[in-house]
Assembly symmetry: C2
Homo-oligomer: 253 residues x 2
């Protein structure tokens, strides 16, 4: 059995905050202690806030391109400018939507720039610069403070092609393999399965959303009882990077 538990009572995160301490305190307040093999799913927003990945609109001088798109679609040109600065490539710019490829290779609306629950008016939250490193940092701090070996997944809310609605997916990870592969394994009837790779960190991020609440302050979920795949021994932990499909292997860019 797998258990999903939302961590309520986290404080408003400030730049420089130590997320591991906040997480351990929130767990203690709920009478929980971490165990080896637990998975912690942390929303990117509090990671970004702790890393100071914030931009005040007042400091932004929009480019002519940002001004023109913003005027056409009734948006704040400073907000558009911040989105463009977070963008490596624009995948689509149509009907008021700006679907961007971020420097990490993620394809999402507005390059992940977010104006809700940012902590102050006129402030935007940007995605963490190196989400895998952020996850590793939280994981290492939890091992130091609590002596536990856990996996950490950093989640964000993305839309998808073809399907309406958003889901939480993984943008960073540490201590867990992103994909569980069934390459060449044999099914219950003795046939070799076609190459199948399940993006388990995306499924964990989506599962965690079910105990988080967009409107409340539940930015962390504990997932217990999932025997997750580990990064291959003796090799670097690739985090969520394997989930980025290379451009030349993507039929829908």
């Amino acid at each position: 059995m797998i258990q999903l538990l939302g961590l309520a009572g986290m404080p408003e995160v400030q730049a420089g905050d130590d997320l591991a301490s906040h997480i351990l305190a929130a767990l203690a307040a709920q009478g929980e202690t971490l165990r080896d093999g637990d998975v912690l799913v942390v929303t990117s927003k509090i990671v970004s806030k702790s890393e100071g990945r914030l931009t005040a609109l007042a400091d932004v001088d929009p480019s002519p391109f940002a001004l023109s798109w913003a005027a056409e679609h009734n948006k704040d040109p400073r907000h558009v400018e911040v989105v463009l600065r977070e963008t490596k490539r624009i995948a689509r710019m149509d009907r008021g939507a700006l679907i961007a490829e971020t420097r990490h290779g993620f394809i999402c609306a507005n390059a992940g720039v977010d104006a809700s629950n940012t902590g102050a008016d006129g402030v935007l939250v940007l995605l963490p610069l190196y989400p895998d490193a952020s996850a590793a940092q939280v994981r290492d701090a939890l091992r130091e403070r609590a002596g536990v070996d856990v996996a950490v997944v950093i989640s964000d809310t993305f839309g998808r092609a073809w399907r309406t609605g958003q889901t939480n997916i993984a943008i960073g990870a540490a201590g867990i393999a992103a994909l569980r592969g069934y390459h060449g394994e044999v099914d219950t009837e003795g046939r070799t399965l076609r190459a199948t790779s399940v993006a388990v960190i995306d499924e964990l991020a989506g599962a965690a959303e079910l105990v988080m609440h967009k409107l409340d302050r539940v930015p962390v979920a504990l997932i217990r009882g999932y025997a997750y795949p580990r990064p291959p021994a003796g090799q670097p932990d690739e985090g969520a990077t394997p989930l980025v499909r290379a451009g030349d292997r993507d039929l829908f860019r």
Copy 2:
């Protein structure tokens, strides 16, 4: 807290089988009984098998188009023919991959036609014709037999644009709203959230995959403790249909 429980010990499903009976028997064998508000996630494969949605390759006469594509990519032309018969529109046909839009409007590899764990050699499993109706049937049968009001989600394993790896998503549902909306709601800081709709049945399907096992026989998961959104009172239950993005609203077809 939310709990995820895989149902082991399900028998091999045959055409005409009553899935609700199988599910109740497997639950009883694990010492569990259903409760109001539980969610059952059922893999489409056993739904298809119970509905006889199977095709024997031996009965298939491939068209010239199927023969040509199969020869070029070293595939079984009869398999390709079955995929084409399940296809409303081909989204991409490139590098050996056939990404199809099914009659339901789902976009996925091979129109959801599957050759693994089909029950016999040379047999393909097709997606259920009306997955929402299939879900409603299981839900109604569980209410009749066990007197419980549960939600049923029918899942399948799909790839995605832009991200490697597959995840389980919902192709049918009953007794639950596909989307949880935050339209115009106010965040913790008093700002109005931009329109956000979370595809909760996809997140439930993905969560369920974590307790299913591709190689074992765990085709059903029980999810307990999730206060899911209900279909609006007095309106028809739309199942998973709201997740199909209309062609004219999709920037990535």
